[in-house]
């Protein structure tokens, strides 16, 4: 058993590291590693990923474990499960952290089952108890409450963390690289990845974006959603939507924010023709600043936002988009 804290790097489909990995490394260094008297370690799983180790070092990782295999290249959850399980069993870290993504929601529970670890998901706060057990906070019940959860004495302790919850802070180190070869036989990989369809977009991913512009059913059509994309682009924000807009077919499901969609915590959320249903607020209610644009003065969102314009989106969005572009061009 070591007192080490591991942060497993979350990779995007283009092979770069997600921001949440740096956020997790920074918070682990600030809150956990010192008290545990342990080492902050990064973990890179994938194919052709060893070159990313210095980036983890830049955020304080003193050691980086690298496991490379062709089987890991298509984000195959079975491969990741096997590789991470073996590494944890061999090195016995105290705490294992990763960003909360669709992918970690997929394979982290399997790993926790195999290494007999407790696992919490989507933490917004991490700390240690006096006797050095991990203590996290997370939203539940449609984000209406925040629960504090403590691990009992089972080790390792595993958690995922919500993107945009912690401040990334550089702390350059030259990490020691530990290459691990993981033997994976094909019968341990029941999942065969047939095809990966990536979305071409220069805009940030919804769950990681610092700014989000979301549209509601009031947009009226798929075509009118271009107003949302344009304002999002001007703000350098990710576009999102309410469930009603997705159900109406105006935009794809992966843009859905809310109880049955994505949970986001951006610095700036702009809701256009969004009524402010509980369903939607459970996904974005923790945004730092909430802006509402709605023509209905009685829309519930006007009672739960910081700033608002009561106006028709088709009047307001074109000049607003133009002004945002001008403002951003000055920076």
């Amino acid at each position: 058993m070591s007192n080490d804290v591991w942060v497993v790097a979350d990779l995007k489909l283009d092979g770069t590291i997600r921001k949440v990995t740096f956020e997790a490394l920074s918070e682990a260094r600030r809150k956990l590693v010192g008290k545990l008297n342990g080492t902050l370690c990064g973990v890179l799983l994938g194919s052709g990923v060893s070159g990313l180790a210095p980036e983890l070092g830049n955020y304080g990782a003193e050691k980086v474990f690298v496991a490379e295999s062709d089987i890991l290249k298509d984000s195959n959850p079975d491969g990741y499960t096997k590789a991470l399980t073996e590494l944890i069993n061999k090195y016995e870290p105290d705490i294992v952290i990763a960003g909360n993504t669709n992918f970690t929601e997929d394979y982290f529970p399997r790993v926790a089952g195999r290494v007999q670890a407790g696992l919490t998901m989507d933490a917004i706060d991490m700390d240690l108890t006096d006797d050095l057990r991990l203590k996290i906070q997370r939203y539940s019940h449609s984000s209406k409450v925040i629960s504090t959860q403590e691990f009992l004495d089972h080790k390792p302790m595993m958690t995922t963390v919500r993107p945009n919850s912690f401040k990334p802070e550089e702390d350059p180190k030259t990490p020691e690289i530990i290459n691990e070869s993981i033997a994976i036989s094909p019968d341990e990989i029941p999942t065969r990845v047939v095809e990966i369809k990536t979305k071409k977009s220069d805009l940030p991913a919804l769950t990681e974006a610092d700014r989000v512009v979301a549209g509601g059913r009031g947009l009226g059509s798929e075509e009118n959603f271009k107003h949302i994309y344009e304002l999002a682009e001007a703000f350098r924000a990710a576009p999102g939507a309410t469930r009603a807009a997705v159900d109406a077919g105006y935009c794809p499901y992966d843009m859905q924010i809310g109880q049955t969609g994505k949970a986001i915590s951006p610095s700036l959320y702009v809701g256009v023709a969004v009524s402010g249903a509980i369903q939607h607020f459970s996904g974005m209610g923790s945004s730092k600043v909430i802006v509402a644009i709605n023509k209905d003065p009685d829309a519930p969102i006007f009672k739960k936002c910081d700033y608002g314009i009561c106006g028709d989106l088709f009047d307001v969005l074109p000049p607003l988009t133009e002004e945002v572009k001008k403002l951003m061009a000055q920076d």
Partner: protein, 279 residues
């Protein structure tokens, strides 16, 4: 096709949520309990699969006496039979223990082809239980399946489209397999009145906690309760975020018109830059 659907009864999170006087639990005294909404997609998918290939749909849940209502809802939608693992302590169990007990009962049901379950349980916002069930059963799982592209009972494989961050991916796994179901996978049917009447006569097996050999599962009676879990909730609070509520309206109308439109845009951006400092 023998299809199993793992379901849960959850608190209705659209209702007002309060904290119990103990400070570490939700006040459930006036709570409405519902079938987990994601499990409705799982049941619907199971019924459509049965309609296409024939076979039977069995629901399995774990929870106190009230959880039978969730099973009745699923039976009324069209499932054929149900298993209720009943114990009042289960509501406090951790995800891992729940997965283990569910898997042990599923094993007793004999051979099966497909297990479906909701992607998330909405009250605890947990995505873990289904995957623990698959792990304990030693079967593959595919999470967040937006579409079953092809199910081949003869070749014993299923091809699914699953949602991932930044796109989607098509994967193929051998059967039996477990699939977790997100919102929008299908449109769940409502239970019809004849369906509700028929549901009352469908087989519903009750399994008591004493019928389960816990030590064989590496669990103890305590491990199913609050004190034996690997993670325990020590505090629950309702977050208070004060919002500024600065709404720009028109002078003569509730909505901004004419010149007011551009003025409102300028004012909003000024506030975001100078006051909120987010742009």
């Amino acid at each position: 096709m023998k299809i199993i659907v793992v379901i849960s009864q959850t608190q209705d999170t659209e209702a007002k949520i309060g904290v119990a006087s103990s400070g570490d639990a939700i006040d459930t005294s006036a709570m409405k309990w519902i079938l987990n909404p994601y499990d409705e997609f799982a049941i619907e998918e199971a019924l459509r699969t049965k309609e296409k290939f024939g076979g039977e749909v069995t629901l399995v849940t774990m929870g106190p006496a009230r959880a039978v209502e969730a099973l009745r809802t699923g039976l009324a939608m069209g499932a054929d039979s149900a298993v209720h693992i009943k114990d009042d302590n289960f509501g406090l169990s951790d995800n891992y223990a729940i997965g283990k007990v569910l898997a042990s009962e599923i094993k007793k049901l004999g051979e099966y082809d497909l297990i479906l379950t909701g992607f998330k349980i909405i009250d605890q916002e947990s995505v873990q239980v289904g995957i623990h069930v698959a792990e304990e059963l030693g079967v593959p799982h595919v999470a967040l399946v937006s579409k079953i592209i092809q199910l081949d009972p003869d070749q014993k494989k299923v091809t699914c489209q699953k949602e991932i961050d930044g796109g989607h991916v098509v994967v193929e796994v051998p059967l039996p397999a477990l699939i977790t179901c997100p919102d929008g996978m299908n449109e769940p049917r409502y239970a019809s009145l004849p369906g509700i009447m028929k549901a009352k006569k469908k087989p519903l097996k009750e399994v008591g906690i004493d019928d389960i050999n816990l030590s064989e599962l590496g669990l103890t009676r305590e491990a199913l309760g609050k004190d034996g879990a690997r993670v325990k909730t020590t505090n629950i609070r309702v977050p208070q975020i004060e919002r500024k509520l600065k709404i720009i309206t028109g002078k003569d109308n509730p909505t901004v018109k004419g010149d007011e439109v551009r003025e409102s845009a300028d004012e909003l951006l000024r506030l975001l830059r100078e006051e909120a400092k987010v742009i």
